[in-house]
Symmetry: C2
Subunit: 483 residues, 2 copies
Amino acid sequence: MKTIPPERVSVIALRMLREALGESVETDRDQLYPVAYDGLKIAGSPEALIKIERSEDVSAVLKIANEYSIPVTCRGAGSSLTGGATPFQGGWVLDLSGLNSISIDQPNMLAICGPGAVVGELQEQADQLGLFYPPDPSSKKFSTLGGNVACNAGGLRCVKYGVTRDYVLSLSGYLPTGEFVKWGRATRKFATGYNLRDLWIGSEGTLGVITEITLRLILATESRITFLAAFEDDKSALGAPLALCKMGIRPSIIEYMDRWTIDCLQKYVEKEVFTGIAPRPMLLIELDGAPEVLKKEQEMVSAWLRNSSIDFRTALEESEAEELWEVRRQGSSAMKKLANTKLNEDIVIPLNRQVELVNFVNELREEFKLKIGVFGHCGDGNLHVNFMYNEEDPLETDTAVTALHRLMDKVISLDGAISGEHGVGLAKTPFVRNQFNDAEWNTMKAIKNTLDPKGILNPGKIFDVFKPWDQKKENVVLSWEHK
Amino acid sequence: MKTIPPERVSVIALRMLREALGESVETDRDQLYPVAYDGLKIAGSPEALIKIERSEDVSAVLKIANEYSIPVTCRGAGSSLTGGATPFQGGWVLDLSGLNSISIDQPNMLAICGPGAVVGELQEQADQLGLFYPPDPSSKKFSTLGGNVACNAGGLRCVKYGVTRDYVLSLSGYLPTGEFVKWGRATRKFATGYNLRDLWIGSEGTLGVITEITLRLILATESRITFLAAFEDDKSALGAPLALCKMGIRPSIIEYMDRWTIDCLQKYVEKEVFTGIAPRPMLLIELDGAPEVLKKEQEMVSAWLRNSSIDFRTALEESEAEELWEVRRQGSSAMKKLANTKLNEDIVIPLNRQVELVNFVNELREEFKLKIGVFGHCGDGNLHVNFMYNEEDPLETDTAVTALHRLMDKVISLDGAISGEHGVGLAKTPFVRNQFNDAEWNTMKAIKNTLDPKGILNPGKIFDVFKPWDQKKENVVLSWEHK
């Protein structure tokens, strides 16, 4: 039996880590601060940063960490919006951004990638070979595949193409003990033993450390058409997913913006989206596919929009489409002008309950006199509900938090989920318990205890209640937030 | 502490079961025999059969079974080819075929089904509403959705549309303790907590009992074209998946039959598939989609076949296509004429390793003087390798088993999996251990021990070595085997 006094454990562990990994271990305060927080901007106090250059080094780190029960938090770009990459319980940060290789196997339509590879770079490389990796979170220009797998990231095109999970064929990596494992194979079919691959996907770095991801790619889309339309009311706009489906059309994107988002946006850019009409709910619809089919579908969608919308525009060219997308992209920045703090909730509900949810948000807005904007992926029921408030104002904060709890209860009652694509991290821990009954919750905890008995991997995430609104936010600008 | 002598435990448990469930409990020998075996035809000795009429009754059964450590084996149609539904360690058989409801939610493109619903019936009902449930195991006319989920069933169209897992949105059911759980929601996106849904899928009834399955459906295909082609050699035939993909074509089906299968088939039906040519490797290719696109693709595939095949036929109509499919379907029956026992292995390997595998099978055939036919889903690397032998001949049996072990080692060395769609059950337990390293194997066992600590659910499956060739096969004809 070791009899090291607890206060010395981390010192000894750190010394062993240095012996094993030498210069890739940083303990300098200046180096540690930028990895102390992520997109949630709430900082932890890491004791060391380990820049991983070779997969095998992950094993060495974990063996020591597991022996001495040191928390280990994995990090790619650090763009998690939920605090998923925040080392909130201290310990070591495992920076996997250096494992950023992308190797595309064109004949087999596969990509073998490091967890640090940036999603957008994979998409660009695939595109050059006539291939396509569909998941496209808004963060795709900087977020990494490891993080995307860790929280089963989605994005805009999931309505037609599915989420990250739908493209992962196999995952290689390490258990908390430092033992190497590979879950799944580079084959679409697999019926041999338990599916740990899909248990790791979405487990937010709490069950293992991913060092290689094999993804399937699909054939690139031949052409695209984009529509921007304004509707009389939410019901007309949110009817689109079901109406188009009934016509036999499966759009690649259907994005919704409520009139509050549009209003905010118009004030921000000082320009009307559609001239002469008051701010209205809008949709951005993209169709993709073979030109022969697209032509027919374009006519059908146009006919439907003529009947159902107040006004609409069509973009056949990439550059025209880009203008329409700019409207959607500015939504988030515009909203930040309303108040200094945004609680961005990525709830998901069944398609036919969306109107009910948006009506409920309208009631909340009125009852609590809150600034709330709703936009997002209405093609798959994944709406982003943004609560804006000033965090220095305790009353405003309290009100926003009360309303947020009401929203989450409503989401669960509509048979939805509190997170569709961001994960639980720290930010959604106040709500996650209500998503599950006792048996479900205990099963998840039992799995965590079995696969990570010392609880070293990303501790505090998913299971422990953490209230982000009670915490000081770091006054930092992330590299991708620069204009 | 209870102090019941072990021999009396099952009697007491059975009495409690009768008290709880009354007439749905059968213990009559004649009633028990038909559920003592499944498609593997090796019989266990069940002590009771419980015909489940209401989901809640599953909870009552499991509570008693778990208290008294009684094995519980779930059963749908009993069509498992691996012994997955065989109550080999005795105990109780839970017949879920009565939970066969199918409820299609057309606007949301969902199906909510009982585990006892037959796959083909769901497909027919969906088709009438212009919707499509793609997974199509050859057993679809009788196999149930519960079984399909339990072993993550595949089929022919997976090459384009994916496997059962790709369509399951949520699963409801019971833990071994009898506690109700629901994993996932009727939404495509879900990033809230651990994904137990996909852990249950493919776990062959060893982790929980499924009582409701929510599936997503897609829009029905507009039209189809089928090609049957004979090739000079395996290399030319097996090059099709990559060649077509390179042309930007994604067929809905690519089925391969080696020349041994064709030879066997031609002798069986006393007719040549293509007149005047010796038995050659053949492909059945199906394209589906919008007519405008299909027309273009038909020309491309025809041009490719003119260059690459010896001879080919095209079927534009359903009835013509049916004739071509009949060729493929008789493969299995024809093969049964070669010997009385068939070991049907549904291995899966990366697309570009298929020629290597088929060459290896050719070497085995020669070295061991064995009758082996290979056919199957070469579009996704899921080849069915059929070893034919007479089980009364110990030498022939030994030879087949030795060759089979060699095949499985080869599959694993090619980075494939020993089962692509049938599951491990009993039949593949002699090979499954080699698929995993110690860490992977121990992780899977740890999950089993955590989620089913008393080991009551489908005991003996996946983890314990069982040699089907050492067992007596029941001389029975299953209902779907009748001509």
